[in-house]
Amino acid sequence: MDRRTFVKGSAAVVGAATLPRTPAQAQAAPDKIRFGYAITQSGPLGPGADSTTVSNYKLWNKLVNDAGGIMLKKFGKKVPIEMVAYDDQGKPDELLKLTERLIQQDKVDMVLSPYATHMNLAQAPIINKYEYPVIMTTATTNKTYELGPRWPYAFWNIAQPREASQPLSKAIADLKKQGKIKGRVAAIYPSVEYGVENNEAFLEAAKKDGLEVVFNKSYAFGASDLQPLIREVMATNPDAFLAFSYPPDTFMLTEQAQILGFNPQFMYVAIGGVFPQYKDKFGNKVNGILVYGPSDPKAPGMDEYAKAHRDLFKQEYEPGGVNVYAALQLTQQAIETVGEIDRKKIRDVIANTTFKTLWGEIKYVKQLNANPWAVGQWQNGELTVIYPADKAGAKPLLFPKPAWS
């Protein structure tokens, strides 16, 4: 106990002795709830971390405090929140050191997720060791399937490779059954973990669904020209084209497909497809393109969220970051349900509750989000959510994708 809390504590004890109080007020409420995060702010991943994650931490911090804080039932009062932030420079070892520091020296009440799959994975064992519940918001990898259950304090929020790929395979199989498509699929992916795993998960699903994969090749991440590859794809005459791509290639292959007049009836690009900049660049040519990791702009509360984001940062929110905000919302709900900072209880509430958030209903099964938004589609110049099709807010698939005009 440092001196300040000691003094406050004694004041509360004295107060309790002299004035009649309800038992709930007898114990001093904390004057702040402190959230700590170590995240990449410098280096190549800094910008992505900033727009996806940090911006939502800042926005949430402001909105919660504007509303008076988080309600702690046990003390019968709202307690404002405070953020402690460090830069992990994109280095996992730095992240681990800083996480220990947040927990042991800064003694934060809660820890928030870092950015990017490998960093989320790196942090999971350590927050688990100290029993800090953390919702990992930017990790998508097959490893979560085996490792998830091993770390009961880590929760995984976004669509993992199977959840992201199976709906695509199923959609193509359905179209084939309806006779709208022959089911000839071409898939390409950058040779990075994300691309490889999603491609594998898709191939597995496609095999089960009886699809014919006529082309499957990887390309170098950071390639400056994908035209030859798209030519090869075109030569196989597929009716569905999938790219488990990263943002720069997502942009490039969309442009080069247009230049070559490659018009698949079903087209999917992965990361970067939800960016507002994607729409800015291609205008209405984005219509019909399927994308990874969307959010529903029509969900209840999204208008307010979009406005608050615009007011604070003077720019539009990133659809791929809405899940981060949702994770903060449900963390708050869990804390309020427990009514105090008891991390074990908070963890159990997170594990066993169905939360209503900006990103739809979230329920964890074995710490994995059971039904995250996986696939979206641009329709009439707007991002919509398509799969999982049974989730509230899902729109029907627009098929076929309109030809490039």
Partner: protein, 289 residues
């Protein structure tokens, strides 16, 4: 037929490599400054073009009227006020290189930081001349073709200046031997500053041209500094026309190799060629032995 298109695509890609390296070769070859913040001017040129078309709805080529003078002046100032003190105190080229690398590395962080603060780290891109052009049965993107032609024009113009003007002769003399050049009455400091500034302006121009077909963000600079550096080393330091040729070789080998072997290997092929040249011809492909 596809192979021809792949070859053509490689040529265009190579033109881009040559283009981004031209300015660096002026800076490194003539002014003898290895400028690690070079790519930041490329990034600045790309952003100026982006804002010109997306914000002000003007032709992005017009952005050159803004970005070129700004890049020229900033680079001139960098040379005059940051590099000259280093040049003065350096005992030899090696000592100078070490100092310069540290200072320009710092500059790279400053410029990138400023860009991040002002323009965020979002990925940007816009559509300009993104229509197909059909050449002898092959299809290429107009914006890539345009950047390629601009690269050729710039390299040719630079070649003419270096070969046929007094100023160019002075620059060539400095490339070969700065000490002797100053002995015959060439104002090495002034001309170096001009060459350095012109290199920065070329970086901005190449950023503008490349941004028509490649998406970019505030952090893209370092990637293009490295690409440019590889081309400069391949070509040979100070070989301006060789720079374009080296870029073309790199582009064609990358594209055709990637197509014939495996698209996963494009970048590996790139570096493989680089290492081969370093081993067999360490002074560059286009230097007189």
């Amino acid at each position: 037929m596809i192979l021809f298109e792949v070859f053509l695509g490689g040529l265009l890609l190579g033109g881009m490599y040559g283009l981004i390296a031209l300015g660096l070769n002026l800076q490194y070859g003539v002014a003898r400054i290895l400028n690690l913040s070079y790519g930041e001017f490329f990034m600045g040129g790309a952003f100026t073009a982006f804002f010109t078309i997306m914000l002000w709805k003007l032709n992005p080529l017009l952005s050159l009227f803004v970005s070129l003078p700004i890049a020229f002046v900033i680079n001139w100032l960098i040379y005059q006020y940051l590099m000259i003190p280093l040049v003065r105190r350096a005992a030899d080229q090696d000592a100078l290189d070490a100092d310069v690398v540290l200072v320009t590395f710092g500059l790279f962080f400053v410029f990138q930081g400023l860009a991040l603060v002002n323009w965020s780290g979002d990925l940007r891109g816009y559509s300009f001349l993104s229509s197909p052009v059909h050449l002898v049965g092959a299809t290429v993107a107009f914006n890539r073709l345009f950047a390629f032609l601009a690269a050729c024009a710039l390299a040719f113009a630079l070649f003419l200046v270096l070969r046929y003007t007094r100023f160019g002769t002075a620059l060539r003399a400095m490339t070969i031997d700065p000490v002797a050049a100053s002995l015959v009455g060439i104002d090495v400091r002034k001309f170096s500053a001009l060459a350095f500034a012109a290199g920065g302006a070329l970086a901005a121009a190449s950023g503008m041209l490349v941004s028509t077909f490649i998406s970019f963000s505030s952090t893209i600079g370092v990637e293009y500094t490295l690409k440019a550096l590889i081309v400069v080393i391949l070509a040979g330091v100070g070989r301006v026309t060789g720079t374009l040729a080296a870029g073309l070789v790199l582009g064609v080998v990358e594209s055709v190799g990637g197509y014939l072997v495996d698209p996963q290997l494009t970048i590996a092929i790139n570096f493989g060629l680089f290492m081969l040249v370093l081993l067999l011809r360490p002074t560059g492909l286009f230097t007189r032995a």
